[in-house]
């Protein structure tokens, strides 16, 4: 778990990731993805190491990491539910689904339940627009979402 990681451990692992990927043309996004894959978010301590390895300033790396919606700066819950909020899903009652998810979980967008079980994130289009509304649970796609399905989904991840 991230909290038990020491600064040295983060630095060692991030250095290995950078060594692996620094040869790519434009390596920063692949590196940040790999770091997030490792910890579930971008630990503060990773930025300095990446900056040093890529010969960038820490501010530049921070600028990139903070620009993209995908990169988290805090550990997410054990499960991540993403609900599509874009037009095709709106046309099929996506807003009501989004409201119900917030109500059931008692949290807003990009927040995590106090028991650390679920993080709720908005997403703008999963490409399932012909079978809306859509969501993604821990990387798994769900289409034609309705209230019952959402309730079951939330129950499953919280059990």
């Amino acid at each position: 778990m991230s909290l038990s990681q020491t600064v040295e451990e983060i630095s060692t692992r991030v250095t290995a990731i950078c060594d692996d990927l620094a040869g790519l043309e434009g390596p920063l996004l692949p590196i940040l993805h790999e770091v997030q894959e490792t910890w579930g978010f971008i630990p503060e301590g990773a930025l300095q190491t990446i900056a040093k390895k890529l010969n960038l300033s820490r501010a530049e790396v921070h600028g990139v990491a903070s620009f993209y919606h995908d990169f988290r700066h805090n550990a997410p819950g054990r499960h991540v539910i993403k609900i599509c909020r874009a037009e095709a899903c709106q046309a099929m009652g996506g807003d009501a689904i989004a409201n119900q998810a917030q109500r059931k979980l008692g949290i807003g967008w990009s927040e995590t339940t106090p028991d650390q079980s679920v993080t709720l994130e908005p997403v703008y289009c999963l490409g399932l627009c012909a079978c809306a509304p859509a969501a993604m649970v821990d990387g798994k796609l769900v289409a034609r979402l309705d209230n019952d399905r959402l309730d079951r989904m939330i129950k499953e991840v919280r059990s």
Partner: protein
């Protein structure tokens, strides 16, 4: 002989339960001692019928759908493996009207072949365009693409051949082909479908682009929201490399070309080509001012072709069948076919590839069959979140770049999202501004500040604070954003806003907006 059963691996089909159906069929066949070969294909794009199962018979493929795991035993009992009748029978796949009415040039093999079988791809005329291209002078390849009339399918509609010529003519030690697979528009899924269902055609199109322009390296920049497409594209590239289609000696021609897949990180604006290039370079995805054009100074400052997935996937058939063949489809200056993605509140949602020229009404009423909810269609957003909302009065607009532009709209990446009469158009206008505010890269003021102000102005109209003045202000703000923004995000956000205001003025009377909590 083992019986062939086809089930899609397309992510939308899987989201509707295709994997569970595949497991149930394999198990049932095993229990009954029937020898079957399960082949996972892309989707045919008939999403209201997914998961759709197809059986190979002597008379062609027979389809059943939408199938759930609970239906599987009954299907076996009904003898579906020999095309037996069952309530889920759809008859011959090719005869399903939604499919039969299409002209599938770009998506010719999608849903038919195993996406990761190069043999299957070759057996269905795969690599034929590339083989012809390798015998041509690069300038002749560019000429073919120019003569075909192919225009950028990402939305801008810029002639692909002219872009290629600019890169071909630019002297440089290194050039790039960048495939824009950052399909962020709501209502669109053509790129995802073809990358999952027919990845080799994109590889083939990119190699042809490389040979035509002198580029030896290609990147597919796609979205993190498309994990299955990323996995399948990556595997397909490895397979193509193993078969020496990619690498230092493309099909023994002595020409080099290789491809890498890169994943974005949830920024809509990275679908804009210069922002995409910055992101690919590992920078913030902010828009670059043009000039210089990417064709002169693109990825890492080198001449770069940035083409949409569908543009590149249309190239192999043009080279294989000839520029004239492709150009003979379509209308006006919109030549060839366009994969229309029918989405939102529709009875028959999916991908419909056809020559340009169908009217919006034909698409919505005849092909999509109206709404899924059974209520009247009230508005159709064409071209993604930056596209205009069309009322029924404009349903005679033909699907053509210029015809839509003439009516203050755009066809964009050809997604259409249908809404029934419960839609609140002021809410949709507010969402357009809100989305622009969330996704703005921040580089130019009209987009960064204008979108936030736009949301506030709509809220004031809703609350009844001097609404007439606010509507004038909103109109003025849209003018500023349209003409003052650096890219299409800020520049086109006025399309949905102004079309909502112009065509549905009664929705802009003060009333409470049912907005999901932030």
């Amino acid at each position: 002989m083992s019986l062939k059963i086809f089930i899609p691996l397309d992510s939308a089909s899987v989201a509707l339960g295709a994997d569970d159906v595949a497991t149930a069929i394999a198990k049932a066949a095993d229990m009954r001692g029937i020898d079957i070969t399960l082949i996972r294909t892309g989707s045919r794009g008939l999403y209201w019928l997914e998961p759709m199962v197809e059986i190979a018979t002597d008379n062609g493929r027979i389809a059943y759908g939408p199938v759930t795991p609970d239906d599987v035993d009954a299907l076996f009992d009904a003898g579906f493996i020999t095309g037996g009748e069952h309530p889920l029978s759809l008859g011959k796949t090719e005869e399903i009207p939604f499919l039969k009415k299409q002209t599938r040039l770009t998506f010719a093999r999608c849903g038919i072949i195993d996406p990761l079988s190069p043999e299957d791809y070759r057996a269905h005329d795969g690599w034929a365009g590339l083989e012809k291209a390798l015998k041509l002078d690069p300038a002749d390849i560019v000429q073919q693409v120019t003569d075909s009339g192919l225009r950028g399918r990402g939305g801008a509609g810029f002639p692909t051949g002219i872009k290629w010529k600019t890169v071909a003519d630019a002297p440089a030690d290194q050039k790039y082909i960048v495939c824009n697979a950052d399909e962020g528009d709501s209502g669109t899924f053509a790129d995802r479908m073809i990358m999952e269902g027919e990845p080799f055609v994109l590889i083939e199109g990119m190699i042809i682009a490389g040979i035509a322009t002198g580029a030896t390296k290609g990147y597919v920049y796609t979205r993190s929201e498309y994990p299955d497409a990323i996995r399948i594209m990556t595997e397909a590239i490895d397979i193509a490399r193993a078969h020496k289609v990619l690498g230092p000696d493309v099909l023994g021609s002595g020409k080099a070309f290789d491809i890498e897949v890169r994943m974005g990180a949830g920024a809509y604006v990275c679908g804009e080509e210069t922002s995409l290039l910055n992101s690919l370079e590992g920078k913030r995805g902010v828009v670059r001012a043009k000039p210089p054009l990417p064709a002169h100074e693109g990825f890492l400052g080198k001449p770069t072709v940035v083409n949409n997935v569908i543009s590149l996937c249309s190239v192999p058939v043009i080279l294989d069948k000839g520029a004239d063949f492709y150009r003979d489809f379509g209308m006006g200056r919109s030549r060839g076919t366009i994969p229309i993605q029918i989405a939102g509140n529709v009875k028959y949602g999916g991908l419909f590839e056809t020559a340009f020229g169908l009217t919006l009404g034909e698409i919505v009423d005849d092909i999509a069959g109206g709404t899924a909810t059974g209520k009247p269609v009230r508005a159709v957003q064409v071209g993604g979140p930056l596209g205009a909302y069309f009322p029924r009065d404009l349903f005679d607009t033909p699907f053509d770049y210029e015809a839509f532009a003439k009516r203050d709209g755009l066809i964009g990446h050809a997604g259409i999202v249908v809404f029934d009469d419960s839609v609140d158009m002021m809410k949709q206008a507010r969402f357009a501004m809100e989305f622009c505010a969330i996704e703005s890269c921040g580089k130019c003021t009209p987009c960064r500040i204008g979108s936030v102000r736009g949301t506030e102005v709509v809220d004031k109209i809703a609350r009844g604070e001097d609404p007439e003045r606010q509507i004038a202000l909103l109109t003025d703000l849209c003018q500023t954003m349209k003409f003052g923004s650096l890219c299409a995000l800020g520049g086109f956000t006025p399309y949905p806003v102004m079309s909502a205001l112009t065509h549905f003025p009664n929705d802009f009377k003060p009333h409470a907006l049912d907005i999901a909590a932030e």
